[in-house]
């Protein structure tokens, strides 16, 4: 093995690539060769560093220096100044406090606490050896030496809850599948990340795909399943490619396939892709899609742990949930519960987007407040503006005002403060963004994504969209808000699945937190003349 004195880390996730990371990497390698530094400096590709809005980022180790907004023309200066002469190129260096806060692992206090993202940005995601070097597959080896019931007990004690939005206890779900008597069982990973504003699963899949492979194999052993399926969004081309490579490498190393690590346990993994349907994030719609059907939900009960994929007992967990499993098995349930709040153990990966200075992914303990996320991690609103409104939890989440900034976000915050955690979306809109057109867009989204199976959702989302459009164009009739309220409660009470039931969250919270905006739109509305004639 070659020993390099200096390593330059280049993130090559989709976001970095579209900002030109591959061109920078190419010039970097050429320049290093031209200066004959090839034996001392290695260029390593990694997944996302979680730093966005800084263009192409390079990290130089062991110097711990981060450069942002790097273009190919900056590369010669970095090589001649930093690598040859040891002088940091100050004009490109990113604020250390920002980079270290985002990068350094296991810091306490308000810094990031990385459990899920323990490897993302630190290892070459396409190298199984680097994953193994950081305790990768140690949790699988440990699990295979335990009784399945012991594994489920550890997960139950850890109080890990599903990270997809619903928060169902993971240990309980695995236990339900384990106790089913069936010739076949399935482990399914929900990687159909579609909740608007959520881009965390992509970072995990592209930055640390082996963590999902390992966790799913553990789930298979714990529940008695031998087949796992990852259902990935169709648009996530790089995630699909990375995952397929990870599966192939793990199979070649004997970590998947028959007789894993000589224990007699067999487990295979396959990738299925989505076709661009938000509803397939709903677990039964997802299973239908794998079964080559339209992605329409099924009746509950029975739930997937009893009658799931191909009618067999099935574990369905989100990407982030699975990524928590190996560290919990290695470090124990007490360790995991030491992070977070009494109602919600561990960390949450938040996706910060919109008018916020540091857009990107942050992993912080459950119970971190909105203010800490927006101002400490996010760096505040762009352009020094004020917050107009915030959307938390996704489009199927709540629209709140800055009065809610001190709300700690966890699974209980919806009940206690009407601020939803959902999938961890923190979307900031500045005071310059009008609320009603935004809500109209949310309404269009649900109308488009409703699968059409049940009437309340199919027709209800259309009516919500029409009312929002009328409010925006100031053509709403006087009874519009009253009708909207009735529609929303009908959607909550009678929709067939979680999609329709969640539609009202955004609108009801917006009506509660910004009643004046709606009242003003109604006051300024006049019914178009053509309609008045019809009324006569």
């Amino acid at each position: 093995m070659k020993l390099f004195s200096t390593q330059i880390i280049v993130p090559v996730d989709s976001t970095s690539v579209l900002q030109g990371a591959l061109e920078v990497k190419h010039v970097l390698e050429e320049t290093i060769r031209a200066y004959n530094l090839g034996s001392q400096v290695s260029v390593v590709e990694t997944g996302a560093l979680g730093i966005y809005d800084q263009g192409v980022v390079l990290a130089v180790f062991p110097d711990d220096v981060y450069y942002g907004n790097v273009t190919p023309s900056d590369v010669p200066e970095i090589v001649t100044e930093h690598l040859l002469k040891g002088r940091v190129v100050a004009r490109l260096a990113i604020d250390r406090s920002l980079s270290s806060r985002r990068m350094v692992e296991k810091e306490t206090g308000k810094s990031q606490q990385k459990i899920v993202l323990r490897n993302a940005g630190l290892i070459d995601p396409q190298s199984i050896d680097e994953y193994i070097a950081r305790d990768g597959y140690a949790a699988l080896a440990k699990a295979l030496a335990m009784q399945p019931a012991e594994i489920i007990q550890i997960l139950t004690d850890s109080k890990l809850q599903g990270r997809g939005g619903a928060g169902f206890p993971t240990g309980l779900k695995w236990g339900m599948v384990a106790k089913e008597q069936s010739d076949e069982k399935y482990i399914v990973c929900n990687a159909d990340e579609g909740e608007p504003g959520t881009f965390k699963d992509r970072l995990i899949l592209e930055g640390d795909p082996h963590s999902i492979v390992e966790a799913m194999a553990i789930a298979g052993y714990a529940t008695g399943a031998h087949v796992g399926i990852v259902y990935v969004r169709g648009e996530y081309f790089m995630s699909i490619a990375r995952l397929k490579k990870a599966i192939a490498d793990a199979t070649a190393y004997g970590l998947l396939g028959d007789d894993i690590l000589g224990t007699g346990f067999s487990f295979t993994l396959e990738v299925y892709r989505g076709g661009g349907a938000y509803v397939c994030g709903e677990e039964f719609a997802l299973l239908e899609s794998i079964e080559n059907q339209r992605g329409e939900p099924r009746n509950k009960p029975p739930f997937p742990p009893q009658v799931g994929l191909f009618g067999k007992p099935t574990v369905v967990n989100n990407v982030e949930t699975f990524a928590n499993v190996p560290p919990i098995l290695l470090n124990g349930s007490d360790w995991f519960r030491s992070f977070g709040t009494p109602s919600s153990a561990g960390t949450k990966v938040f996706s910060l987007s919109g008018d916020i200075v540091n857009r990107g992914i942050v992993e912080a303990p459950m119970g971190t407040t909105l203010r800490e996320l927006v101002y400490d991690f996010g760096g505040g609103v762009t352009g020094g503006r004020r917050i107009g409104f915030l959307q938390t939890g996704g489009s199927a989440g709540t629209v709140v005002s800055e009065r809610e900034l001190d709300t700690p976000l966890d699974f209980a915050s919806m009940k206690t403060s009407n601020v939803s955690l959902g999938s961890g979306v923190i979307l900031v809109a500045s005071e310059d963004v009008p609320l009603l057109p935004f809500l109209a867009e949310v309404a269009h989204f649900f109308w488009h994504e409703s699968c059409g199976r049940c009437t309340p959702c199919r027709e209800g989302t259309l009516q919500v969209k029409n009312i929002m459009d009328a409010l925006v164009s100031r053509t709403a009739d006087p009874a519009a808000l009253e009708r909207l309220g009735r529609l929303l409660s009908t959607l909550t009470l009678t929709s067939f699945c979680g999609l329709g039931q969640a539609v009202p969250l955004a609108f009801e919270s917006a009506l509660r937190n910004f009643p004046d905006v709606f009242a003003q739109a109604l006051a300024e509305s006049h019914v178009p003349e053509a309609c008045e004639e019809l009324q006569d």
Binding site: E235, Y236, E270, G275, G276, R359, F445
Partner: protein
């Protein structure tokens, strides 16, 4: 024009050639290997959609239905459910512009307006020269660089309306950037 060429390659009456049928049989067989004897319609149809130029001709779907052992109606129901699949001819490049919350807040409406103006089409339409189809999309999962869009498999972020002519010209010329 593109469409005509495809129709010709499929034969006038929509009858598939023996060569074409063998190709389809191969695609389905390959997919069975990957999925341990099962098949994924999505995988097969993604590959065929790419092969036939961003849409799935009816004759092809009929043959695939036969090969996977289902009815054409069932397969058609599947195809029409998923927005990434199309039974209608689309342009050589499919533009998917994100209109969801994070992109909306950071300027998607002006990106959409400029795309419509530059291409002279509405959402869901194809340019007369058959090069671009403009589609709206729900969140693409690259909200860190909103507003964003994808053209085919390539993503573009931190967009301003001024960036669009360059991106479209490069795609038209056949480059990736």
């Amino acid at each position: 024009m593109e469409t005509e060429k495809r129709e010709q390659s499929l034969g006038r009456a929509g009858v598939l050639s023996a060569e074409e049928k063998a190709f389809l049989q191969d695609v389905v067989a390959q997919d069975r290997v990957e999925h341990h004897g099962r098949v994924s319609y999505m995988d097969i149809l993604f590959e065929l959609e790419h092969h036939y130029g961003n849409f799935l001709p009816g004759e092809v779907l009929n043959e695939v239905a036969r090969l996977v052992g289902t009815s054409p109606a069932q397969l058609n129901g599947f195809v029409t459910f998923y927005t990434m699949l199309s039974t209608k001819p689309r342009g050589r490049h499919v533009i998917r512009v994100c209109t969801s919350g994070p992109c909306h807040v950071t300027g998607a409406p002006s990106i959409v307006a400029e795309l419509k103006r530059l291409l002279g089409v509405e959402m869901g339409e194809t340019t007369p020269d058959g090069v671009f189809t403009l589609e709206g999309s729900s969140c693409l999962g690259i909200c860190g660089v909103s507003p964003a869009l994808m053209i085919d498999d390539d993503a573009y972020g931190n967009l301003t309306p001024e960036d669009l002519p360059r991106i479209l010209a490069a795609k038209r010329a056949g480059g990736a950037q």
